[in-house]
Amino acid sequence: MSGLNPMTDKASVDYWDRRRGRIFSRKGGWVLGQGVSSHGYSMLDDLVGRAGFFQVLVLNVTGKLPEKQLSDWMESAFICLSWPDARIWCNQIGAFGGDARVVPSAAICAGIMASDSRMYGPGTVLETCHFIAAAARSLQQGHSAAEFIQAHARNKGKTMLPGFVRPIVTGDERVTAMQGVAKNLGFEDGPHLAAAYQVQEYLIENHGESLNLAGYMSAFLLDRGMTPHQGYIIFSLCVNGGIHACYEESCSRPAGSFLPLRCDDINYCGEKERAVPHD
């Protein structure tokens, strides 16, 4: 291991020693009595009252302060992902939290963690971004949408279409709403959205499936130069509004009254009763 740089070589104890009791930040931070900064901007002088919440969120994650239009677009996307319906899985967890009278932060964090799902919510963003980025590359290389799907979307005999399938229903009215928002804000479609629409065209015809909101959002963010991981981080809390709503409602009703179950509402299908053997 000799000959390596002790400043960067993690195989050297020196590397770890240099970090003991110190924080290295590329973000900025708080200088006591002087101010707080994010990526070179003074939070209180440059951002508070001048930039929107989502502009600062994007700045904090990516290091770049986006134009206000992107912040407005994101705010609309969060609204699209936050429906106050306690049948939606993460929202129902928030409602159970209220029903069990846990504090809001616990219930809402539990719902947020549940939305890190492979089926819906922000948990799909990373995979969807990679899928759409791969589609864009494939189409640019001259392959058809059908060829791309044949080559990339098969997993254990199933067709995997991240960004193009939605639970409960086919179609996604939120995409139409967000397309309108983007148009009003002056955004133009980039190569990733173009690729997503090409894939959608094939899927509507052959599978009856279309672009879902995660697919639309992912393509949109890739077109704005965001990485999949940055998109995943920024949208990690996107379902919170619906969870807040369902938590508040169940909190305001009698404890234990949200979807109560009788013992026989559970279908036991396991072992018959048996005696516990002695050691």
Partner: protein, 273 residues
């Protein structure tokens, strides 16, 4: 256009784990509770917690040997220690006056990661399951060979497989000793024996057991699937997380370090210019 898929959802929750027999006077109240067919009150009187945990996860009570292996593993994992991110999170929460009811959810969330957490245990179980029929020494040689020259040049930690690798700038001595002790106690544990042979081939790469790999070997031998092992690893850490949190509960915020400005280094990124 939005169209309902018309999926057929189950009318009821189905479970093989728990049967609650209703009180004749109130269908919402259980009179008796059975887990995998066993009366819970009988389990309470006749079996250990470890045996019941095994039964809940596997559906059957463990053999005496399985119970001993699980018992020792869970003790080994009962406290990740105050340098683990999970415990540090709990201690931070505690000293900053977070409600102690949040200690475990906070700590357990951070016990789920790919770095010494549940995700690493999950991946290590998958690795062991895929490789246990292969020659461990040959596999170790292949994996060490595969560590890229670039990674070596950049001094990246050696991680030939999930659950196995370097620890800071060396080998985790505690995990190595614990593995040796468990191997001595359970010489017929096939997954552990495979791991012992595997790490013997990693030493030249300054790699060895990680505590996650050791947990994975024990869970593999007990037939616990990857996701069950990951969750059990998190669960096992609970007593230590709680203990470290409670220890600081009510203490002044000054009882933990707060990094001074002089030790907080802003590394201006290129994108800031």
């Amino acid at each position: 256009m939005v169209t309902a898929r018309g999926d057929k959802f189950s009318d009821k929750v189905n479970t093989k784990v728990c049967r609650e027999i209703a009180d004749p006077g109130n269908p919402f109240v259980a009179e008796r509770v059975l887990w995998h067919g066993y009366d819970v009150l009988d389990l309470m009187e006749r079996r250990s917690l470890v045996e019941v945990v095994f039964c809940l996860l596997k559906g059957e009570l463990p053999s005496a040997l399985q119970a001993r292996q699980l018992q020792q593993t869970l003790i080994l994992l009962a406290n990740p220690g105050p340098r683990h991110a999970g415990a540090r999170a709990v201690m931070n929460a505690s000293v900053s006056k977070t409600d102690p009811l949040h200690f475990l959810p906070i700590g357990l969330a951070l016990m789920g990661g790919e770095q010494l957490g549940g995700a690493e245990v999950r991946d290590a179980i998958k690795f062991l399951r895929r490789n246990i029929r292969h020659d461990p020494c040959a596999r170790a040689a292949e994996l060490c060979e595969a560590i890229s020259e670039q990674a070596r040049q950049e001094g990246e930690p050696v991680r030939p497989a999930p659950g196995f690798g370097g620890c800071f700038a060396g080998i985790d001595s505690f995990a190595r000793t614990a593995a040796a002790r468990l191997h001595k106690s359970f010489p017929h544990n096939e997954a552990l024996a495979w791991g012992m042979a595997f790490v013997s081939g990693l030493e030249s790469a300054n790699a060895g057991w990680r505590i996650t790999g050791l947990a994975a070997a024990m869970f593999t031998e007990l037939g616990l699937p990857p996701n069950v092992g990951a969750g059990l690893f998190q669960l096992a850490s609970s007593p230590g997380l709680l203990a470290h949190g409670i220890e600081l509960s009510g203490k002044p915020v000054t009882d933990m370090p707060f990094i001074s400005d002089s030790r907080y280094h802003y590394e201006r990124a290129e994108s800031d210019d």
